[in-house]
């Protein structure tokens, strides 16, 4: 956005901010922050303390939010693109994370479930898991793009089968990765006070920004999502573009899988990244993006992911029981999603106009 005032854009700075899509997750974030500030300002405290490995790290609720919200934010990137191009969502990302995590462990640990040292360099293991995750992404993508199956139905297949496939890859064993090094990805790199998942997320954001800036994936996926026929007549290959977005989501899944597995150095096939697909979809919706495809705002999606984590952390802070958490979350989510619905936003902007316009006429008369 340029800082110049656009005379034809209409409205004050305030109303233009209001109309901007990113305003919704931003407002939600502010509200949550305000709530915490009033309830307990110590929520925002950040301390520097020494961890068990002997290096100084930052700790506090905010740090835990940017730490734990990173997986979701990375997934939201891929989910946003998939939503834009294929007008539907991939509900198999949780299961796909289990698969890619399982592949990662398999390569790192080899045939032995309790190896003394890692059997392959971490980078190699990650690349193999990334290829696997992208293949599964491509599988979903082919079903959606070429067989024209509804995304939710197409990805239901992996959603159902994924965790079994993940268990099968390691013969249903739970290998444990030896050594400190592997825990860095889900924890802290010695000497760095910020959690590594957040650093990985920042790297992903930069790469995404570069991808949107230096390729046409944004324009193409939106165009395909809005009008496939027109896109084809303008020389695009809608099937290939949809497939590409699913493969990109596969890569996001692999990165998330790396962080998730690194946090524990092992895996639990039925629990790892459980229900994360729903949160990822929610992040896209919270960002004010239409779940029926088309135009998207990537920054808003990413912010949406952190808003969800902010909410979760806030609820934990207020001693909401883990079992009751989803219910509380649901209430807040309903409010947020309703507020970000285009219908409601239009009503609000009309309302503010009404409130202000009588004033204006009064001024004119005076």
């Amino acid at each position: 956005m340029s800082g110049k005032l656009d005379p034809k854009g209409g409205g004050s700075v305030f109303s233009r901010v209001l109309r901007n899509q990113i305003f919704i997750p931003f407002a939600a974030l502010l509200l949550l922050a305000l709530f915490n500030l009033i309830a307990d300002p110590s929520f925002f405290a950040i301390n520097l303390k020494m961890n068990s490995a002997g290096s100084y790290i930052l700790s506090g609720n905010l740090i835990s939010i940017i730490d734990n919200g990173s997986e979701l934010a990375i997934l939201a990137i891929g989910m946003t693109l998939v939503t834009a191009s294929s007008k539907g969502q991939d509900i198999s990302v949780g299961a796909a994370i289990a698969i890619s995590g399982s592949v990662l462990l398999r390569v790192l640990c080899g045939n032995d479930t309790r190896p003394e040292t890692i059997q392959a360099p971490i980078i190699v293991a990650f690349l193999v898991s990334a290829v696997a995750a992208m293949c599964f992404g491509a599988f979903n993508g082919v079903l959606v793009a070429y067989f024209r199956i509804q995304p939710m139905v197409a990805t239901l297949i992996l959603f159902t089968a994924g965790r079994s496939i993940a268990a099968w890859i390691n013969n249903n064993e739970l290998p444990i990765v030896p050594g400190e090094e592997f825990t860095y990805f889900g924890g802290y790199i010695p000497g760095c006070p910020l959690p590594t998942p957040f650093l990985i997320a920042i790297l992903c954001f930069v790469l995404t920004w570069a991808m949107l800036k230096f390729t046409n994936i944004g324009l193409y996926s939106q165009s395909v999502g809005i009008n496939e026929k027109t896109s084809r007549l303008n020389g695009l290959n809608p099937e290939l573009i949809k497939l590409t977005t699913y493969i990109i989501l596969g890569l996001c899944v692999a990165v998330t899988g790396l962080i998730k597995v690194s946090r524990l150095s092992t895996i639990n096939y039925s629990v790892i990244a459980k229900d994360i697909e729903m949160d990822a979809i929610l992040a896209v919706a919270l960002g004010g993006n239409s779940l029926s495809g088309g135009k998207f705002n990537m920054a808003a999606s990413i912010l949406g992911a952190y808003v969800i984590q902010f909410l979760t952390t806030t609820l934990y802070k207020f001693d909401v029981q883990a079992t009751a958490l989803p219910a509380y979350k649901a209430v807040v989510v309903i409010v947020l999603v309703v507020m970000s619905a285009p219908v409601v936003r239009e009503k609000i902007s009309r309302l503010t106009k009404k409130i202000r316009s009588p004033k204006r006429t009064a001024e004119n008369q005076a």
Partner: protein
């Protein structure tokens, strides 16, 4: 209210950010009349209709309806229906997978139960009384567009509407279908229904309407009896100027001579999966030619085959004498062919994207995935063509779907001109567009041709083809049946060739 009037609008105002769409507009509809609402794109026709049907809420003004005391408030389409205003749009808004009877009665049942037999019987009676030859149990999708439109009208009539609005109902119908629709409209008129008829076809206005209301730039120009307003005056009232422009273009005879050089594009035995017979075709540099024929004769399918929009099954294609393979739109684009599709909404615009993105789309695709234009460059491109084609838009970032039809069409045209094509295919570029823009587009076509571009022009209006094309290819029943040049380019010869049979074709 005046005696005999059904609907009166007084002093209607409606504005959008930056645009005054309606200013102090009056409109009166009397019982049993067909009233044409005319105006250029952006004159305020659509806005007026939307105010009347509750899609938009007016800023100021009063609406009076017979049988209701005082001014009526219409805040939603449901309220409009309740006071007896029904609308049939250009696009069919019924459910194609339900039966005719279901479509007529959907959403109108009282209580949960449905008595299928009574419903079908009632639908049958209604259709018979309006002379629509269709079975109530037939699936809607199996009916022709014209019949579907009539069913939509029947539904509206049965809901006891006193005011029926027909918004561009004839633009996708052929002549015999239009005649049927008009018969139905006259029947309704005899019953006392007031019909507001929005169309761009002047012939149709003079054939069926009693009165004309003309709008221009959101203001009322006037209300006229049809007899007192000759065609030429109507056009000049719509444009707000005398008709020199139109005369200009007629006198500007085409100067193209076939030099017999290598054609820019040449196809032999081209055939696609859309059921057209293999055809030969060529076009030279600076030539404007056109495909003509009735609706469904295969003229659009021919150009779609040239562009690779449909799957091409056979044929050889040469461009500038060299063999090329065009199997998909991208191949065509690479070879310098551009194609403006017939159905703007379905094939042309990317609705939610901005005017800027819509303009640069084709050139961007041609340039490549890894070479996106900078924002500044995109804006420069868009602004250049907005100025060149006089596109009326609030800004380059306005979503294209909020523009009027004619301006959307100009944006699509801008998209293709930006790619600087060698060969431009325009399929019905002037459909649903006001007279002023039509003339603009025709002039542009001739200008581009004089600069060396080859253009194929398709239009349902023969006048327009005669004004622009130096060679016409006539289609009948999906087959190329004739080619007309020079002196043969007259209405009569075209009609005769289209009709075929025993007629003597020159």
């Amino acid at each position: 209210m005046q005696q005999g009037s059904l609907l009166e609008l007084r002093g209607i105002y409606k504005s959008f950010p930056g645009v005054k769409a309606l200013q102090n507009v009056d409109f009166t509809l009397r019982e049993g009349e067909i009233h044409a609402l005319m105006g250029e794109n952006g004159a305020g026709k659509s806005t007026l209709i939307k105010v009347l049907t509750g899609v938009y809420v007016k800023d100021e003004g009063d609406i009076f309806i017979k049988g209701h005391d005082g001014a009526v408030q219409i805040r939603s389409p449901q309220e409009a229906q309740r006071v007896g205003i029904s609308t049939v749009y250009q696009e069919i808004t019924l459910c194609p997978n339900l039966s005719v009877a279901e479509n007529i009665f959907i959403g109108r049942g009282k209580g949960a139960g449905v008595n299928w037999r009574t419903m079908n019987k009632k639908a049958g009676e209604l259709l018979a009384s309006l002379g629509i030859a269709v079975k109530p149990t037939q699936q809607l999708a199996s009916c022709s567009i014209a019949v579907q439109q009539m069913i939509a009208i029947a539904r509206a009539v049965d809901m006891e509407c006193s005011v029926l609005i027909l918004d561009e109902p004839t633009s996708s119908l052929d002549e015999s279908e239009v005649a049927k629709l008009f018969a139905l409209m006259r029947k309704l008129k005899a019953r006392g229904v007031g019909i507001i008829f929005v169309t761009h076809f002047l012939d149709q206005v003079y054939e069926v309407c009693d009165r004309i209301t003309v709008l221009r730039d959101g203001q009322l120009v006037g209300e006229y009896e049809i007899e007192s307003l000759p065609r030429l005056q109507l056009v000049s009232k719509m444009l707000g100027k005398e008709l020199d422009d139109m005369a200009d273009i007629k006198n500007d005879m085409k100067t193209f001579d076939d030099d017999g050089g290598t054609p820019v594009y040449e196809a032999e035995n081209l055939c696609s999966t859309e059921g057209i017979k293999p055809f030969n075709f060529h076009i030279r540099r600076g030539e404007v030619n056109g495909f003509t024929g009735l609706l469904g004769s295969g003229r659009s399918e021919c150009v779609r085959a040239i562009y690779g929009a449909d799957t091409v099954t056979s044929g050889t294609v040469r461009m500038d004498g060299k063999h090329v393979k065009i199997t998909k739109p991208k191949d065509a684009m690479k070879n310098g062919i551009a194609y403006l599709p017939e159905d703007r909404k379905r094939d042309g615009i990317v609705g939610d994207l901005s005017v800027r993105e819509n303009i640069i789309l084709a050139l961007q695709v041609k340039t490549g995935f890894f070479r996106p234009f900078s924002k500044a460059k995109q804006i420069a491109f868009a602004e250049e063509y907005i100025k060149l084609l006089d596109i009326k838009t609030a800004s380059v970032n306005t979503p294209i779907k909020s523009l009027s039809g004619g301006n959307q069409q100009k944006v699509i045209l801008a998209r293709w001109l930006l790619t600087h094509p060698k060969y431009l295919i325009l399929d019905e570029p002037t459909r649903g567009i006001d007279v002023g823009t039509k003339v603009d587009i025709q002039k542009l076509v001739l200008k581009l041709a004089s600069e060396g571009m080859s253009i194929t022009f398709i239009s349902s209006e023969t006048d327009e083809m005669l004004r622009t094309c130096s060679r016409l290819l006539v289609m009948r029943d999906r087959k190329l049946v004739g080619e007309l040049v020079g002196d043969q380019l007259t209405q009569n010869t075209i009609m005769a060739t289209i009709a075929g049979g025993d007629q003597n074709v020159g």
